[in-house]
Symmetry: C2
Subunit: 217 residues, 2 copies
């Protein structure tokens, strides 16, 4: 029952684990077999005590005084994150961002296979993007089941996000990644993540403002 | 010296403040003058004790037993985040994601004005996207100064991210938002944010895996 053990991994740890997987994969490509927590920490931009705490969930892959087996650690993290399998994904909203995701190779590379593209614009329906034909959003409930979609990516304008979400919920979807700049309502058993890159711009702007203020004082 | 006071706002608070600004702007459009912390909390999807804690930085805008002045609170938060002004931004890497950002109205709406688009691909240089002509990346140092770019957005492939960053650093840039799936090296006085939407997909996949495991046990 490995899931039991990983059940309480905190959210912040999850996003760091994702970085570790990325770096471990890079090391694997370079033929690295074993890595120390210090070295992994530096290449991930995380402090060593944090990485040791995070990797405590995967303790059995550590070699005292040496480090971690790159391959085994990577596989263990991937398994714990549910990344040792592929996930069927649908993109709802074929605007600039939706198109970019449909054409972006990184999703497939990471095990997220886009199996459906949806939009309510009659001018977009039927268009082929990234090898997929755009389907009318009103068909989302039936198509979600038919295509066995597990995760929905919302890239609609803000005002159409909830409707898209409702269609997906109707089909019993269990996970949503929302790029639309709008809060969405879902039952508590649905996993929802918001991707709001504007917040990152806000954060950078804020930190520049702070530095400038400090310089002036 | 308002900056002094806001100096220690934690990172997690900043991204919530960004959500509050978004919601307060929505309320303002609807003509709402005063809002209780409970109501604001619900519409932001944050718990009320958290919102009260966050808004303690802006205490003077609260009315005991009534709530917050929508306009004043919004303006105070925006000022603290450095959003009461516009920021000149450059996009480096005109692939699918770069194009999406160049055409995306939300950046400008939020005060981030894209003043330059850069790529090293000779087939892209000179192309017009979102009203901007794509400039050769090697001109980044001079153009960054000329266009008064303050924040660089990196949308290159992973292997070209550091070179793009180096060009920007050469021109003395103070903030970078990195969409490339690569860690980048910068001096400590440069504000860097990573936007990795794959992590959000990881997180959703992980939570679905957890729920399924719980159902099986």
């Amino acid at each position: 029952m490995p899931h039991r053990k990983y059940e309480r991994i905190p959210r912040a740890t999850i996003s760091r684990l994702a970085i570790y997987v990325q770096e471990l994969e890079g090391m694997e490509r370079q033929g690295v077999k074993v890595v120390s927590s210090e070295k992994l920490a530096v290449s991930c931009g995380v402090n060593p005590s944090q990485i040791r705490k995070d990797l405590a969930y995967f303790g059995e892959f550590g070699l005292r005084g040496v480090g971690y087996h790159v391959f085994e650690l990577k596989e263990a993290i991937k398994q714990s994150l549910g990344l040792d399998r592929t996930w069927n994904v649908a993109v709802v909203g074929v605007g600039n961002l939706g198109r970019a995701l449909l054409r972006h190779g990184v999703l497939r590379k990471r095990g997220f296979i886009i199996v459906g593209a949806f939009d309510c614009d009659p001018f977009k329906i039927g268009e082929e993007i990234g090898g997929l034909e755009v389907i009318c959003s009103s068909k989302l409930p039936e198509k979600t089941r038919e295509l066995n979609v597990e995760i929905g990516i919302i890239t609609t304008p803000a005002e159409r996000a909830q409707r898209a979400v409702n269609y997906l919920l109707e089909a019993g979807i269990k996970g949503i990644v929302n790029f639309a700049p709008a809060r969405i309502k879902t039952p508590p058993n649905v996993a929802v993540e918001y991707v709001d890159f504007i917040h990152h711009l806000f954060s950078v702007a804020f930190r520049i403002t702070q530095s400038q203020a400090k310089g002036l004082i």
